[in-house]
């Protein structure tokens, strides 16, 4: 089980890293296609609020899992 937890740790960390360019690329594409106020509001919320939270938490969690920090957490 510990091995699976660690392998998945790598998956979470990579997901966290991968989401940043993916979101920024999509935002640039959509804003360039239609630079409307609603587009700006929407992508600002996603880039400033949602993306950093997802990226930071997945990367940190993934690194902890990869290092085996969650291997023996039987009390949670």
């Amino acid at each position: 089980m510990s091995a699976i937890k660690r392998i998945f740790g790598l998956v979470w960390a990579l997901m966290g890293v991968g989401i940043v360019p993916l979101v920024i690329k999509q935002a640039m594409k959509e804003i360039a296609a239609k630079p409307s106020e609603e587009n700006w509001i929407f992508w600002s919320i996603v880039i400033v609020v949602l993306m950093p939270i997802i990226a930071f938490s997945l990367i940190t969690f993934g690194v902890f899992a990869l290092k085996g920090e969650y291997d023996t957490l039987e009390d949670i």
């Binding site: 998945f8 609603e38 509001i41 609020v49 969650y70």
Partner: protein
């Protein structure tokens, strides 16, 4: 635990715990009520406080304000969580209640955009931020306070009463809005009647503050303070120490993120979907949600109590998994049942009324078309078209400015109405599975000295950010499938991909990394 601190009999302890639950729950319920009337009245608020030239922009602006209310919640969690761990639970969640009530009351008094221009949306925005801040501090305090009064082995049961308050708050908000709207009439409600639910909050909060003033501090906090064991810096202890940060992350990614999107999909998105995608009439759609919420609410207590016996993890993960699998089929049925393309019209019952009125410099033509279908469904379409009387003005206006205002309302027959209640109820059951045990789960993984701070942040990021953004992101996903302006979206269910993806990731993380909580956990 509580029984070690207070020297009371078991009967007295149960009575005392019940009193604690009642006092905490009433206040938390009112805070949720305050928070949700804004979201429920999003459309009217956008008309009142944001420029009306572009209704989509106005609605999105309101949704952004709505999101701001949610996004600010984690900051409230940090600010008030820290206070709660430093000075105590009781006074902190008394302050949050007053801030929430004051802000809600003030929203009801702010003059509209027509009267004070840009100041109107600016003031509403600020008040909405205050609401979010207060809510961020409230829930963690109430859950911690109740849990610290509850005996071990029954924490899931007792804290589940706090868990019912969010749904009951939404139910209360919908109920008050419906009653006021029905009493005053649709037009008056749209003009000024919408302010009443906000103003009413002042009275509810006053009652709740009175009740909470009479409550005593959490026994665990009092004991810890006496022993000088309170944290000097709860923020640093919560998020800078690796051992605690690990717990915060697992609570967020493995539990609250998935729980947040399931919660908002089952209650808010379901209402928005009924009204916007299915065009179900306002009162009927609100009744569908309200009845489903009312029937579903006891399940918070059932699952909370069950989590004391079989563990928190299994129930929460099962709720997330079933939601992920069932959302698309459920919403497909909802959409098809309300879709007029699947129905046969009784042509001889079709009725068209045209009214022409002169309003100021405009000629206003209202066309009301009513159709009846063989299954009993009725459809009413109201088209309001403005034509300037002055030909020069008429020529100067663009096509967009002359665009008619169209309102579509589908009223479902009894059998489909009950079926819709059943379909929403299934989603509410998912909500109760993921949400019922979560307060006990969060309380038990953090120590008393930093519990308020530590549990509030993942809870409010999960619910406020991941969950609170469901309406905004889902609306956007549906809009992306629209082939062109004015055309119907190619996939009206596309909005579900966001909650499905987040709940699926949360399910995998929770299943892998969280062990099943048993009933003998103690909090210290």
């Amino acid at each position: 635990m509580a029984q070690n601190v207070r020297n009371v009999s078991p009967v007295e302890e149960v009575t005392s715990t019940r009193r604690v639950i009642a006092a905490s729950s009433v206040g938390t319920l009112i805070e949720w009520y305050d928070f949700y009337i804004f979201g429920t009245l999003a459309k009217i608020i956008s008309e009142q406080f944001f420029p009306k030239d572009n209704p989509t922009a106005a609605l999105l602006a309101t949704l952004a304000t709505f999101a701001a209310g949610f996004v600010i919640r984690p900051f409230g969690a940090l600010f008030f969580g820290r206070l709660g761990d430093l000075i105590g639970r009781k006074y902190t969640f008394l302050v949050t209640l007053v801030i929430m009530g004051g802000s809600t009351f003030a929203i009801g008094l702010v003059p509209g955009y027509k009267t004070i221009g840009f100041f109107a949306p600016a003031i509403v925005f600020l008040l909405r931020l205050l609401q979010g801040l207060a809510l961020g501090g409230e829930y963690g305090g109430a859950a911690t306070y109740v849990a610290e009064h509850s005996p071990a082995g029954q924490r899931g049961f007792w804290t589940s009463f706090i868990q019912t308050t969010a749904t009951m708050g939404l139910f209360l908000a919908l109920g008050v809005i419906l009653i006021v709207r029905q009493t005053l009439g649709v037009e008056t409600f749209g003009e000024w009647g919408w302010r009443i639910p906000f103003i009413l909050s002042a009275f509810l909060v006053a009652v709740s503050v009175f009740i909470r003033m009479r409550m005593s501090e959490s026994p665990l906090f009092v004991k810890m303070k006496k022993e000088g064991k309170t944290s000097a810096n709860p923020l640093a202890e919560s998020f800078k120490q690796k051992d605690n940060l690990k717990m915060v992350l697992i609570a967020l990614l493995g539990a609250t993120a998935g729980q947040g999107v399931v919660w908002y999909t089952g209650q808010f998105y379901a209402l928005s979907f009924l009204q916007n995608a299915c065009n179900v009439e306002f009162v009927q759609s609100n009744f569908i949600i309200s009845i489903a919420l009312l029937i579903g609410t006891p399940f918070f207590i059932i699952f909370g109590s069950l989590s004391d016996k079989i563990g928190r993890k299994y129930i929460m993960m099962a709720g997330m998994l079933i939601a992920v699998i069932a959302y698309r089929p459920i919403y497909t049925i909802m959409y098809n049942d309300a879709n007029l393309k699947n129905k046969v019209e009784v042509v001889e019952k079709k009725d068209v009324q045209i009214k022409n009125a002169v309003k100021g410099a405009d000629s206003l033509i209202t066309t009301i078309t009513t159709k009846t279908f063989t299954d009993g469904t009725t459809f009413k379409e109201t088209v309001k078209a403005k034509f300037p009387v002055d030909p020069v003005l008429k020529a100067a206006l663009t096509k967009d400015k002359l665009k008619p205002e169209i309102k579509k309302e589908v009223t479902l027959p009894k059998d489909l109405y009950y079926k819709m209640i059943g379909l929403v109820l299934i989603q509410v059951i998912f909500v109760t599975m993921v949400y019922g045990p979560i307060a006990a789960f969060l309380v038990e993984i953090f120590p008393t000295r930093i519990r308020y701070t530590s549990m509030s942040l993942p809870y409010h990021i999960g619910n406020g950010v991941f969950g609170g953004l469901v309406p905004l992101i889902s609306t956007r996903l549906v809009e992306a499938t629209r082939p062109g302006p004015g055309l119907p979206p190619a996939d009206p269910l596309a909005g579900l991909w966001y909650p499905i993806l987040i709940a699926a990731v949360s399910f995998v993380i929770g299943s892998l990394y969280i062990s099943n909580k048993t009933n003998n956990m103690d909090v210290d």
